[in-house]
């Protein structure tokens, strides 16, 4: 019988559910705008623009909640990267995922109350939450108010550069999501991690 630890407080679960829905909406509408096809639109262009803008605005608020939560609740400590020995730890986890897992070795960094993420998880979450998502948010707002931000600081071509960054980093966020969701299937059972994100309790291997 596996033991259960309470890892995901209510606010994280709510934040995460909203975050997931919004990011999926943003990806679908974003891709739909980037690859519009008038004869056969995934979502009508103006609707896609509106949905994308509104989702982006709500995502910003939600992100601010996450940011605040990371500072004022103990959950923030899981995101503190220790640079010392980071690479060997990442490698160890990587080797586990590429080889160990198939030989049914024990996970090198078991989930505990003190460290809920393994090094690779922690690293990608930090990159996603403190680099990629903020960049997409900032460039997104800049696109909403080009006259305020871009033309003033970057003159003519600023908008284009900004647009490219938004699109490229947006792609990275979607890559993150696919990989993230896939790795969440690696749990005690195929679905146990998804269950934990609903109940809050983590089930160990």
């Amino acid at each position: 019988m596996s033991e259960k630890i309470y890892l995901y407080p209510m606010w994280i679960r709510l934040w995460h559910a909203l975050n997931a829905i919004l990011i999926i909406l943003l990806i679908i509408t974003g891709v739909s705008m980037q690859y519009t096809d008038p004869s056969n639109p995934l979502i009508r262009f103006d609707i896609a623009v509106k949905m994308h803008n509104i989702s982006g605005m709500i995502l910003t608020l939600n992100y601010l909640i996450f940011l605040t939560g990371s500072f004022i609740t103990p959950n923030g400590k899981y995101y503190k990267l220790t640079l010392k020995g980071l690479f060997p730890r990442l490698m160890k986890q990587f080797m586990f995922y590429t080889f160990g897992i198939f030989k049914h070795e024990k996970a090198p960094f078991p989930v505990t109350k003190e460290s809920k993420f393994n090094p690779l998880q922690q690293f990608t979450y930090v990159i996603a939450m403190f680099m990629l998502v903020p960049i997409v948010i900032v460039t997104g707002w800049a696109l909403l108010y080009p006259e305020v931000v871009l033309t003033k600081f970057l003159s003519g071509s600023g908008l284009r550069v900004n647009d490219f960054i938004h699109v490229i980093i947006g792609f990275f966020v979607s890559f993150f999501m696919f990989i993230h969701i896939y790795f969440c299937t690696i749990g005690a059972t195929f679905v146990s991690n998804f269950k934990s994100m609903i109940t809050g309790f983590h089930e160990s291997h």
Binding site: M33, Q34, Y35, T36, D37, P38, P41, F45, D46, V49, Y97, I101, F102, K103, H104, L144, P146, E147, G156, L159, R160, D163, F164, V167, I168, F171, F175, F178, I179, Y182, T185, I186
Partner: protein, 327 residues
């Protein structure tokens, strides 16, 4: 000691050389400037000494004294803009009566008939590429001409003293858009000019286009005629302005790969760019970014490759997990 002297000599020669160089440059510059001046610039000063600024002087023969007066705003002609215009080499009196060289101008001159573009350009081989006849035909079926037949003429959009070719030039898209839109806004954002033609209330352009998101950005990057004139492949600038009900409203007309902008605003650049760079998207990429319309081919390819790698990675990992699972 000797080194000090040679140093000084060296310095003097350098200074001398520099002076000569600068003199050469300025004289070259002068030559260039005189060359740039339009042929009849000096002649036109006869008119511009009065029409070139906001005041003019004349000699009152009765009192014998010089009188200074304000020039009516509409009759002021900007020297610099005239000197850059298509018709910069003209004498004022090529288009206006010779009799204007007397002051006060004879009253009957008010009734002088003006040339139309077609009077000079019609049937002229040299201007065949502009297709004046076709433009004339398109203009005649536009809202402006059908609603205000004789009052509305080419000069109302092509200011006789400032009109200059823009679209067919190397200038930046943004500048072309600004120039062309100013032509329309000249009336559509100015009640007095608008009401020269009609007693209607001038519709507020900003409000009427409130449905367009990022309106300010759109008006800076896209011309009014893109949405309001029916495209005609045989001319570069569409002149058939349609009634408002027929205006382009669907976003995908522009925001898609077969964007109408390729056939209108970007047409000239695309044509030029293709012959120069061979890769037409490149030209547009450098000037504007119309979401949906210009995708970077390489960026698309890269994301596709990356996406496939991620998918393949996940697939392989998942299959291995299933194959090697604990029995």
């Amino acid at each position: 000691m000797t080194s000090l002297i040679t140093n000084r000599i060296r310095k003097v020669t350098v200074h001398l050389l520099m002076a000569v160089f600068i003199m050469l440059l300025t004289s070259l510059n002068l030559v260039a400037q005189t060359k740039q001046k339009a042929v009849n610039a000096a002649f036109n000063e006869k008119c511009l000494k009065c029409h070139g600024q906001s005041k003019y002087k004349y000699l009152n023969p009765e009192s014998g004294s010089e009188v200074t007066k304000r020039m009516y705003l509409e009759t002021i002609i900007n020297r610099d803009l005239f000197a850059e215009s298509n018709h910069k080499n003209f004498k004022c009196t090529d288009c206006h009566s010779e009799d204007y060289d007397t002051f006060p101008h004879p009253g009957r001159l008010r009734m002088e008939s003006k040339y139309a573009c077609i009077d000079c350009h019609g049937g002229d081989e040299k201007y065949a590429k502009f297709k004046f006849e076709e433009i004339e035909k398109e203009f005649q079926s536009s809202v402006h001409a059908t609603k205000h037949a004789d009052d509305f003429n080419c000069w109302m959009c092509h200011n006789p003293h400032t009109y200059k070719i823009k679209t067919r030039s190397e200038e930046k898209i943004k500048d072309i858009v600004a120039y062309d839109n100013a032509i329309c806004l000249n009336c559509h954002a100015d009640i007095t000019k608008y009401q020269m033609l009609t007693d209607k209330v001038n519709p507020n352009i900003i409000q009427k286009h409130a449905w367009l998101p990022n309106q300010a950005l759109h008006f800076k990057n896209v011309r009014c005629i893109e949405c309001h004139a029916r495209a005609n492949d045989s001319i570069l600038v569409a002149h058939n302005i349609q009634p408002k009900a027929k205006a382009v409203r669907r976003c995908v007309e522009c925001h898609s790969t077969n964007s109408i902008l390729m056939a209108t605003l970007y047409k000239y650049k695309v044509k030029e760019g293709r012959s120069k760079a061979g890769f037409y998207n490149g030209v547009i990429m450098n000037e504007g970014y119309v979401i949906g319309a210009n995708r970077n081919y390489y960026l698309g390819l890269l994301s596709l490759i990356m996406f496939s790698c991620v998918a393949a990675g996940i697939l392989i990992h998942a299959s291995l997990r299933i194959l090697k699972r604990k029995k």
